[in-house]
């Protein structure tokens, strides 16, 4: 049976479960629905959950283990000379078997041993799917009938449904956490492989980035050096310029919106400002590369300055515009959260509006504003598309914003685009860079969260 068909049958069964559960509840009450502990619908839901949850659990765990077990069984039945091959070659053979079974391209010629294995694999696979269908439907029907049997007027179906829903919500909220852990681990293991080839000291403190490694021993000029310092200075330079643009503009926009603008202006301007956050970064990218960069270069030439067409300045400026809404929106919220009593107190002492803002409101809102700026900073550091399009590829170690620099994210992209061999330091370097980037932004986010939380306590 196809998996989708199975799921469809399961769904059908659960809607039947609702109907039966409801009907059974009404019938055990003897027509007096108000004698039931819960409304009949709750008994229906209760039956559905009992029918669906255990069978889905069986379904997913079966699918999770199926592949491994089937492969193991196939390997056991392979002829001796194939079974004793080294691991890497054995996995190639297994891949061939699976590909042949699925009708995909295989690496070499298909011999009789493989063919036998393929038919074995296919039959095992079919048996497994049939067993799965039987088992799942069996579990569903058992769950359905047990829960139907348990229905009685005193049964607390409402509370039971409430409890089960709670666990469902908990499960959903942990998905995000487990995904994060999964991402960290996947990056971490590749990064560890990289650090086995390149010492971490060379990576963290090396001043030269040139990731081209020699594929053959006699290749020239591709020594491969993995000093990440130029990349991180590039990232920091561009992010710094971006923050230099976004923080003052965003903060002042927030002050205008929360303190000066009347409600009509606010209703129009605030969403418009937030549209900036909705523009795809790739659009910002070609805006920077095709519009702003030539403008700056011409402008620079007329002043006798040499501005690279992939300068950090232009990239930073455009990225700064992109993160203005992060700063302004968060600052606006925290400025609005400053109690009106603070403003009244200041006005009551004869302070002007700007004095009140400078001396009372900004200091009171500062922790929240700092939190917003740090979030914007981690966004700027992790930003990829604008820098890929507008910043350079040359890993210059420079603090001059008019020169081209490259960033961590740009290098990750260039290292991983196209066909790559996964046993070379060049490819694995991308994961080390990703890990570093992740640690950096995580660190900034933790600080931001901490600052924001501290701020919240102040008015509680």
């Amino acid at each position: 049976m196809q998996l989708t068909t199975l799921l469809f049958v399961l769904l059908l069964l659960s809607s039947l479960a609702y109907y039966f559960g409801r009907k059974r509840a009404v019938s055990v009450s003897g027509g007096e629905v108000k004698d039931l502990h819960s409304r009949p619908g709750y008994y229906g839901f209760y039956t559905v959950l009992w029918c669906l949850l255990p069978s889905l659990l069986v379904f997913s765990s079966w699918l999770a283990m199926e592949g491994q077990i089937v492969t193991q069984l196939v390997v056991q039945d392979l002829p001796e000379q194939i079974r004793t091959l080294p691991d890497s070659q054995l996995s190639l053979v297994i891949n061939d078997i699976k590909n042949t079974a699925n009708g995909s391209i295989v690496s070499g010629k298909v011999n009789s041993d493989i063919e036998a294995a393929v038919s074995h694999y296919k039959s095992l696979y079919n048996t497994s799917r049939a067993a799965l269908a039987v088992l799942v439907l069996l579990v569903a029907i058992i769950g359905l009938s047990i829960s139907l049997k348990k229905i009685s007027p005193s049964q607390r179906a409402r509370n039971a449904v409430e409890n089960i829903l709670k666990y469902l919500l908990i499960a959903c909220s942990t998905i995000a956490i487990f995904t994060t852990i999964g991402i960290v681990l996947s990056v971490l293991f590749e990064a560890i492989r990289f650090f086995q080839m390149i010492p971490p000291i060379d990576f963290l403190f090396g001043l030269n980035w040139s990731p081209q490694t020699a594929i053959r021993a006699d290749q020239v000029g591709s020594s491969g050096s993995f000093g990440a310092i130029p990349l991180f200075t590039g990232t920091m330079l561009i992010s710094f310029i971006a923050l230099l643009v976004a923080v003052p503009i965003g903060l002042m926009a927030a002050i205008y919106l929360s303190e000066y603008a009347n409600s009509k202006v606010r209703a129009v301007v605030k969403p418009l400002l937030e549209v900036l956050a909705g523009i795809p970064t790739v659009v910002y990218g070609f805006f920077a590369a095709l519009t702003v960069a030539p403008l700056f270069r011409e402008f620079g030439t007329s002043w006798g300055l040499e501005i690279s067409s992939e300068s950090a300045l232009v990239t930073g400026l455009v990225m700064g515009v992109m993160i203005i809404p992060f700063v302004s929106s968060l600052s606006d919220d925290v400025i609005n959260a400053v109690p009106q009593a603070m403003r009244d107190g200041s006005y009551g002492l004869g302070a002007t509006q700007s004095e009140t803002i400078r001396r009372v409101i900004i200091p009171a809102a500062l922790p929240g504003i700092v939190g917003g700026v740090l979030l914007a900073a981690s966004r700027a550091i992790g930003e990829t598309m604008i820098v890929v399009m507008a910043a350079g590829l040359a890993a210059n170690l420079t603090a001059n914003p008019l020169e081209a620099v490259t960033t961590v994210t740009v290098q990750i992209v260039t290292l991983l685009v196209g066909d790559q061999e996964f046993d070379s330091a060049k490819t694995l370097a991308a994961f080390a860079l990703g890990l570093m980037l992740f640690v950096t932004t995580l660190f900034l986010n933790v600080i931001a969260l901490h600052v924001v939380r501290k701020y919240r306590e102040q008015y509680e």
Binding site: G345, G348, L349, A351, Q458
Partner: protein
């Protein structure tokens, strides 16, 4: 209906002092107050030595009129208490006196309010300077999230009242002393003002208002968030401050009005019903509404 009342009120309010229409309170219906009854103020709204004079003040929040034609003097170095049931406009009226209502977009004030012969609603009036001369203490203590010292120094700093740090220190010390807070906080001036107790915070706010040497201090239910002991502290303080300042206080507590004020004004539904010496208002009210309120029949 309301419009006609306003125009009538504006024409005859000057003569309100010797109004003889309602001198027999028994004749006034105590329940359903009509606009007609409330139009004219009973008692003595005017003062021989006024610090602030208000004439025919009307306040609107959008379409809604919150204050109807109030005329009242605030005498120099007196404490005037404004009492009345919730929503009667006493706080709104108080906030007209230093133009705090300007911060509310929909609020519109009509009429004349003069302070030492300056029209405070004149276009040439500097609102910032006005608020320095008419200080304000709010219902809930609202110290800035700064140190105790910086809270007091806030006003003198923005107005440039002191030449150097030594003078500023003196102003801070004398303000705290006059607010009766010096001995409690002198060793921890650098700690946040928000860390003080409620009563201390309110005295800090009073000290903060005193530090800019205003002529008038407006207090909007300054004790409503405080316990009885802290309230007694503030009331003693108000009595002492009367030597140097004119104080207008809005309060919900009639006992407090009786304890701290020399004159009392009774507001009802946006109308100023009766003004008189505090003793007289509380022992022998002239208006039936005032009597009903102070005897606890409503409000």
């Amino acid at each position: 209906m309301v419009d006609t009342i306003i125009t009538q009120g504006q024409t005859d309010v000057i003569g309100a002092m010797d109004n003889s229409e309602i001198d027999n309170p028994a004749e006034v219906e105590s329940k359903a107050i009509t606009h007609r009854d409330a139009r004219d103020t009973v008692g003595e709204p005017f003062s021989k030595d006024p610090r602030m004079t208000c004439r025919n003040v009307n306040v609107f929040y959008g379409e809604k009129q919150a204050i109807h034609d109030v005329s009242l003097d605030i005498g120099a170095n007196e404490v005037i208490a404004m009492i009345g049931p919730s929503g009667c406009g006493k706080s709104t009226f108080l906030r007209c006196l230093n133009r705090m209502n300007d911060t509310v977009d929909s609020c519109r004030v009509e009429g004349n309010i003069h302070m030492n012969n300056d029209d405070i609603y004149n276009k040439s009036m500097d609102v910032v300077l006005l608020r320095a001369r008419v200080g304000m203490v709010f219902q809930k203590p609202n110290p800035f999230p700064k140190s105790i010292y910086d809270n007091i120094a806030y006003g003198p700093r923005i107005h440039g009242l002191t030449k150097n740090k030594v003078e500023l220190d003196e102003v801070v010390e004398s303000s705290l002393k006059r607010a009766g807070l010096w001995t409690e906080v002198k060793d921890r001036l650098d700690q946040p003002g928000t860390g003080l107790s409620g009563g201390q915070q309110q005295r800090l706010c009073i000290a903060r208002a005193i530090a800019v040497s205003p002529d008038v201090i407006l207090m909007d239910e300054p004790c409503s968030a405080l316990d009885p002991i802290a309230t007694a502290h503030i009331e003693d303080l108000i009595d002492e401050l009367r030597q140097n300042f004119t104080i207008a206080i809005v309060t919900h507590s009639m006992q407090q009005a009786a304890r701290v004020s020399q004159r009392t004004a009774y507001f009802h539904l946006g109308y100023l019903i009766e003004v008189g010496q505090t003793d007289q208002v509380f022992t022998n009210p002239k208006h039936q509404l005032t009597e009903d309120y102070i005897t606890g029949r409503f409000g």
